[in-house]
């Protein structure tokens, strides 16, 4: 059910010719994924998914759509040749991937599972030992800083473009 929701809205998101609807479908698709996370009992990640994607990125996208596009305007259609080729390539890729995935027998580990609860995550996130992720955390923070600077410079340019 969730899967169906995710996939159908995903397909619609990339095919609908109304950009605003595409954004909404994307939103549904993302929520569907969050649902899947919930269903797999990864609550934290589901929460993050909803907060960051639904609350952040999608909103960002919608804003940018407002900024750049008249809502309701139909998107230009892609050339049919391109569509066929893309579909073909994508289908091949999908087939190949599926084939390999199904041929491969995943052997689940026998180790003691670590519960994905917030406390554990927090521990690890700032740990510097074997299983710690403090360094990636720092790196990501640098990345976000850099992204911020980049966005500021690019988006807030002082002079408007001269046509």
């Amino acid at each position: 059910m969730l899967a169906a929701l995710t996939l159908v809205s995903g397909v619609l998101a990339v095919t609908t010719r109304q950009i605003f609807r595409a954004a909404i479908f994307l939103l549904f698709s993302l929520i569907g994924i969050a649902g899947l996370y919930f269903w797999m009992q990864y609550d934290f990640i589901a929460a993050v998914q909803i907060v960051v994607y639904v609350g952040g990125i999608t909103v960002l996208i919608i804003f940018s759509i407002f900024l750049t596009q008249q809502a309701g305007e139909l998107l230009p259609k892609q050339k049919i040749g391109r569509q066929i080729f893309s579909a073909l390539a994508v289908f091949c890729g999908f087939a190949l991937t599926m084939l390999q995935l199904f041929q491969h027998s995943f052997k689940p580990t026998t180790g003691q599972p670590v519960l994905p609860i917030v406390a554990n995550i927090g521990d690890r996130m700032l740990g510097v030992a074997e299983d710690g992720f403090a360094l990636p955390f720092e790196v990501v923070s640098m990345l976000l800083l850099a992204a911020l600077i980049g966005c500021i410079v690019i988006a807030l340019r002082s002079k408007p473009a001269t046509s």
């Binding site: 899967a3 990339v14 998914q49 994607y53 995943f106 976000l144 690019i154």
Partner: protein, 104 residues
């Protein structure tokens, strides 16, 4: 319907991945291309979580990977949108085919 297991999730994520890729190939609007990328990244996240859950529950590598991917996706989206907006200012369009001056 059987109890959904690893394989089902993998099918979903792979399908989502290629849906995203297809979108990236065919949408002419830059923002929708970006949206397709988000789909791709989400499918990967789904993969990570699924593997973590069903195959390697002893560590939380997949989970953390997913968290960081989300962060990266956010940063990337931010920069991409900034660039797109800037492009819109100079080209007055965000159709990808209007930005093909450089070729061959």
């Amino acid at each position: 319907m059987m109890e959904p297991g690893l394989n089902h999730i993998l099918v979903i994520s792979a399908a989502l991945f290629f849906i995203g890729v297809f979108g990236f190939f065919t949408r002419r609007n830059l923002v929708t291309m970006l949206m397709s990328i988000e789909l791709v990244l989400n499918s990967v996240n789904l993969n990570f979580i699924a593997f973590n859950k069903y195959v390697w529950p002893n560590k939380m590598d997949g989970l953390f990977f997913a968290i960081f991917v989300i962060a990266i996706a956010a940063a990337e989206a931010a920069v991409a949108i900034a660039i797109i907006i800037n492009l819109y200012r100079s080209h007055h369009s965000i159709d990808v085919e209007n930005a093909e001056e450089m070729k061959f």
